[in-house]
Structures are given as structure tokens and as C-alpha cells.
């Protein structure tokens, strides 16, 4: 199995619901609290497994805002696993999920250097590295109904921009989406072979900004009224 996420950039509205759901689930999950730093202070911050970026692509009038949720890519050749000196970071053979053994992590931060996505964050209160677990404590939870055995971010996404599944299965929804929509990985040139895929935004229809003279009757009436009022 090769479990991972597909994120539809065409649909994602950047509402941050996935990040909040992730925080909520993992704070109350088996991994322990995701620390908040000064939660009631002026600049509250904390550990997040999932962060949303907002980008502008192209130049006006052909521009478009792209919302990009980014979490651990669960790479096939995960450099964070390769560089971990104690072997605390590891990739599960059975499903490809990259995890951190919290009892072996000594907080050296070297994996944070190696991850090009910035997906690893040191819990500066606990002193160990934290990252997305793909909600491993709920996707295998037999007490949950099968339809709920998905990561919290996928379940909560109001726009259904996030999909979870097995990339090894060509008939899975994630494989189909990647195949049909031309899903791509982030920074493939590095050779880490990320499991998570992004579906590119569909081409935008350019906004017509040509100074075309409007000659309808209604327009002429409006112009006449405007002229009447202003003079």
C-alpha cells in the first residue's frame, strides 16, 4: 500500500478548515498535544502539521489565486528518514506512511534541514520533531465507521478538495484523480518521490478588460441620467 493525499488546487478555497481539524484531532489524539505557544497572547503560534499558503499565479488579467495546503508528502525516498541519526524517523513498509518515533527523537532538527517542504516542526516545548501522521490513529481505527477512517483534514474539507487513498491501487479514487486530472507532485526534481499529489488549477477564463464601448439603450439612458445629475 502507498497511502497519501490528493489535493485539488482548483477547488481548495483556502479556508484553513483542514489545518484546524488536523490540529484538533492530533491535539486530542494518541500523539499528544500539539503545543501552542502563547495561545492567548498577542502573537499566538504553535505546532501545525498542515499549513496553507496563498499564491498569486500569472499576471493580470490572467492571474489566479492558488490556495495550497502543505503537509508531509510521505515521500517514497524520504530524505528526512535518511538523515535522521537515531532512526527515529522511519517509513512504514506496509503503507508508506512516514512517522517519527517520539521516544527516539532527540530534537537535533537535522530532518527539518532536509525537508524541502518545511513540513517538519520542532515542538519547542517538548523538544521533539512533529509532523503529519496521516491520522494513523483514525485510519486504522476499527471502532470508527469505514467512511470515517480517513484523515481529519479530508473529512472536514468543505470543498471536497482533499482525497485520501492508496496510490498503489490503480482503481482507487486518488489514482484515478491523478490520472484523469494530471496530478503532479511538488518539486519532483529533487527525486524524493512524494506520495501526495496536487491536481492543478484548471485554466482560468481571462477577464475581459478591453475598453469596448457599450452601445445598448440601457447604457445610453444611464449615461444621460449621470450627465443630468452631475451637470
Amino acid at each position: 500500500m502507498k497511502l497519501g493525499l490528493v489535493i485539488d488546487l482548483d477547488v481548495c478555497v483556502g479556508c484553513h478548515a483542514c489545518a484546524v481539524a488536523c490540529k484538533q484531532w492530533n491535539t486530542s489524539g494518541t500523539l499528544g498535544a500539539l503545543t501552542d505557544y502563547a495561545p492567548y497572547g498577542r502573537n499566538p503560534s504553535g505546532v501545525w502539521f498542515n499549513r496553507i499558503r496563498h499564491y498569486e499565479v500569472g499576471d493580470f488579467p490572467h492571474n489566479k489565486t492558488v490556495n495550497m495546503p502543505l503537509s508531509c508528502m510521505h515521500c517514497e525516498d524520504a530524505e528526512c528518514v535518511n538523515v535522521c541519526p537515531t532512526g527515529a524517523s522511519y517509513k512504514r513498509k506496509e503503507d508508506g506512511i512516514v512517522l517519527i518515533d517520539q521516544d527516539k527523537c532527540m530534537g537535533c532538527n537535522y530532518c527539518a534541514w532536509a525537508c524541502p517542504y518545511g513540513a517538519r516542526e520542532l515542538d519547542r516545548a517538548e523538544g521533539t520533531m512533529k509532523k503529519c501522521t496521516l491520522c494513523i490513529d483514525r485510519i486504522y481505527d476499527q471502532y470508527l465507521p469505514p467512511e470515517e477512517r480517513q484523515p481529519a483534514c479530508v473529512l472536514t474539507c468543505p470543498a471536497h478538495a482533499r482525497h485520501f487513498g492508496d496510490f498503489d491501487n490503480p482503481l482507487s479514487k486518488v489514482s484515478q484523480l491523478v490520472r484523469e486530472r494530471g496530478g503532479t507532485t511538488l518539486m519532483p526534481e529533487l527525486g524524493y518521490q512524494p506520495t501526495n499529489h496536487y491536481l492543478p488549477p484548471r485554466p482560468t477564463r481571462p477577464i475581459d478588460t478591453s475598453a469596448e464601448k457599450q452601445t445598448s439603450l440601457m447604457h445610453k439612458v444611464k449615461e444621460w441620467v449621470n450627465k443630468l445629475i452631475t451637470t
Binding site: 499549513r51 535518511n82 527523537c105 537535533c108 524541502p116 520542532l122 517538548e126 523538544g127 518539486m187
Partner: protein, 400 residues
């Protein structure tokens, strides 16, 4: 040939005890900072999700590089047959160990969980260059200890050159390993080049030589021992040559990045547009750390004066710390280019912007504590063991 006489530091003077007290206070401050960081977490430091290695690492890496480089004095005598340096070999070996212990102590105490050092010593992932470095550092201390023992034990004299050769090779590999910690990172643009390994070797020679000169001169001055100026002149000539070599490799480093179109941002950042990092590069790394010392060392009149050589060595040490700050902190501050061609509108992760970092007092204190530990070990060892020659002169070539 005359035999060399080694003596302990007398250690009776007020200056000795004042220095001891100062170093102990700095060490205490460093330990207190480490405790604070352990108690409150790294949140009290200036480090964040982008600048994950901060000021303590600058001190630590400086000390580790200097530890490797300082052994060069002993290596020159045993590998290249320069007998003139043989009386200084014991000091060279001692400093190699003490500086490395100081540097490693900082690294360990700056870990998120320093109490898990035992995990690092018992669980090895051999695909990690970090693991190899742990083995290299521990091996270096063991090998130099044996080397030092062979130097000081008359019965072991026949094996002394062999130990010296092993130590020489080991320290080259060690510094290659330290450089490769950064050189093997392809995720961050300013790194991921094999050139960092030879650059770190050159830097180790520069830092080590400067530190050695400072400690040699201050211990001879403090211990009221004769110090032949010609020996210092030879050492400062080596220092100047190493400094030029390191500068050359820095130039090659930037030329390499400038050659590839997609990597020119690194050159622009460090040399022109990097704000504080650009200023530190030109004024601190190049001006203070290279050009001023080279001027002082190569000046026909000034370059012969011990005070000026001391000043040049201090400039190289400070400039070296700045150089590591620019390379390591600046390299992390350089924004990750995750989405080429996209303009960042907003990001809760600070994408696309130069990341901010201001070192906290705790970090500086921890770094200074590590330096103090290294010097304290060296000072006490010189007080307990026969490390320093009774006098350092060019004529005094040892026989055993």
C-alpha cells in the same frame, strides 16, 4: 639536538585563578542557559521553524572545526617532518580534544531533548551523515588521546609517528564529514555542494591555527615562558596561507553558484541583497576575517610584532564566527523556493521571505559556556600535565 623539557603551568598567580574563575563563571552561565532551555523549551531561544540551528551551533561548529585544525601543528611535525613544531605537539593534541569536547557539549545541550544523548549513542542510522559524524567525533577524541599518550610516554615513542598519521587522516575525514552535514543537503539552495567539504577543511586550518596561536602566546605569556618570535612568525605565515586558501574556496563556492542560472539567487542574496547577511559577509567575513588579518600578517613591519599577530588572530576568530553565521544562519534564512514562478500572497509559514532570526541571550551564553569549557579543560590539563615546553625556541628540536 637538545631534548625538550616540559613543565606544568605553575598556577600560583592571581592571574591564573582569575582566569579560572572567569572561565568557571562562563561555564556556569552556559549550564544555566542549557537548563533554562531544557526547562522552558526552545521557545525561549530565537530559533524557529526556519532557523532551526542558531547561535549555539555557530559556536559548536567553530569549535569542532578549530579542534580539527589545531591538530595541524602536531601533524606538520609528524607528517611533514618539521621538527620545529614537535615541542608544540602536546599542546596541539590537548587543544584538539578540549575544543572538540567544548563544541560537542554545546551541540548536545542545544538538542531538543539532551537527555536522549544515550539514544544517539546506541541507535545508529548509517544513511545519515550525522551518524557518521558522531562516530568520527568520538573516534577523534579516542585517537588523539592515544596520540597524546604516545607523545608523553617514553615507552610508546616508536608508535608515536603512526598514531600521528592516523590522527591526521582521521581529522581530514572528520572535517569532510562536518562539511558534508551541509554539503549533502539538496533541499536548501545554499548547500548541496561537495565544495563545502574542502571549504570546511580550509576553514578548520584557519580557525585552528588562529586559536592555537592565541592560546600558545597567552599561555607562554601567562606562564612566563620564553617564546621565540621566529616560531610565531612561521606559524603566522602558515595562518596567512591558510586564510588565502579559505578565501579562494569561498570565491569558488560563489562562482559555482553563479555559473548555474537557477542558483544565482544564492549569490545575489549573500553578496548583494541579503540585508544583514550581506553586510556581515562583506564587513565581517571578508573585511574583518580575511582582508584586515592578511594586511596585518603580510605587512613587512607590523607582521613581525607579536601584538599585531595576536590582533590578526583575534580578527580571524571573530571573522570566522561571522562567516559561519552567514553560511549557516543566512543559508536557513534564504527562503525555500517551493513554488517557482508563484508570488506569495500570504502564508502562515512565511514562504518567500527572508526569515528573521535574533539570537537570544540564552543561546549566546550557551555558546560562550562551551568555549569556556574547552579553555577550562586546556588550562587545567596544562596545570596538571607536562604539556607546555619550558621554552619555545627554533633551536630546540627534540630528541627522545
Amino acid at each position: 639536538m637538545s631534548s625538550v623539557t616540559y613543565h606544568k603551568l605553575a598556577g600560583q598567580s592571581v592571574r591564573f585563578y582569575a582566569l579560572l574563575l572567569l572561565l568557571a563563571s562562563m561555564l556556569g552561565g552556559g549550564l544555566f542557559s542549557a537548563w533554562q532551555m531544557e526547562h522552558h523549551g526552545h521557545i525561549i531561544t530565537g530559533m524557529n521553524n526556519h532557523i532551526v540551528w542558531g547561535m549555539p551551533h555557530i559556536f559548536a561548529i567553530f569549535l569542532i572545526l578549530a579542534a580539527s585544525g589545531v591538530l595541524n601543528v602536531a601533524s606538520v611535525s609528524v607528517i611533514f617532518g618539521k621538527e620545529i613544531y614537535k615541542p608544540l605537539s602536546r599542546l596541539s593534541g590537548l587543544l584538539a580534544i578540549s575544543l572538540l569536547i567544548g563544541g560537542l557539549s554545546i551541540l548536545v545541550l542545544d538538542l531538543g531533548r539532551p537527555d536522549r544523548l544515550i539514544v544517539a549513542m546506541t541507535h545508529y542510522n548509517f544513511t545519515s551523515i550525522f551518524t557518521w559524524n558522531i562516530l568520527l567525533y568520538n573516534g577523534f577524541i579516542a585517537i588523539v588521546l592515544v596520540y597524546l599518550w604516545f607523545m608523553m610516554e617514553r615507552r610508546m615513542q616508536p608508535y608515536y609517528p603512526l598514531a600521528g598519521k592516523i590522527a591526521f587522516v582521521w581529522r581530514l575525514v572528520l572535517t569532510t564529514g562536518t562539511g558534508s552535514i551541509f554539503g549533502f543537503l539538496i533541499a536548501r539552495e545554499p548547500y548541496g555542494t561537495a565544495l563545502l567539504a574542502p571549504l570546511f577543511i580550509a576553514l578548520s586550518l584557519v580557525f585552528g591555527k588562529a586559536v592555537f596561536l592565541l592560546i600558545l602566546m597567552s599561555s607562554c605569556y601567562g606562564g612566563q615562558r620564553e617564546l621565540n618570535q621566529r616560531v610565531i612568525i612561521r606559524l603566522k605565515n602558515l595562518l596567512a596561507m591558510f586564510s588565502v586558501t579559505a578565501l579562494y574556496l569561498v570565491v569558488v563556492y560563489f562562482l559555482t553558484f553563479a555559473y548555474f542560472e537557477e542558483q544565482r539567487g544564492v549569490v545575489r542574496f549573500f553578496l548583494f541583497e541579503g540585508g544583514v547577511y550581506t553586510a556581515l559577509f562583506w564587513l565581517g567575513q571578508i573585511g574583518l576575517g580575511v582582508l584586515l588579518p592578511l594586511f596585518l600578517l603580510y605587512h613587512p613591519r607590523l607582521g613581525q610584532q607579536l601584538r599585531v599577530i595576536t590582533l590578526a588572530s583575534v580578527c580571524i576568530v571573530v571573522g570566522g564566527l561571522i562567516q559561519l553565521y552567514v553560511l549557516i544562519i543566512g543559508g536557513q534564512a534564504f527562503p525555500l523556493d517551493t513554488f517557482s514562478g508563484m508570488q506569495v500572497l500570504s502564508s502562515s509559514f512565511g514562504d518567500g521571505q527572508v526569515h528573521a532570526y535574533s539570537p537570544s541571550l540564552w543561546e549566546l551564553s550557551l555558546g560562550a559556556g562551551g568555549v569556556a569549557l574547552a579553555l577550562l579543560i586546556a588550562l587545567l590539563a596544562m596545570r596538571i600535565f607536562d604539556i607546555l615546553p619550558a621554552c619555545v625556541s627554533e633551536e630546540q628540536i627534540p630528541t627522545f
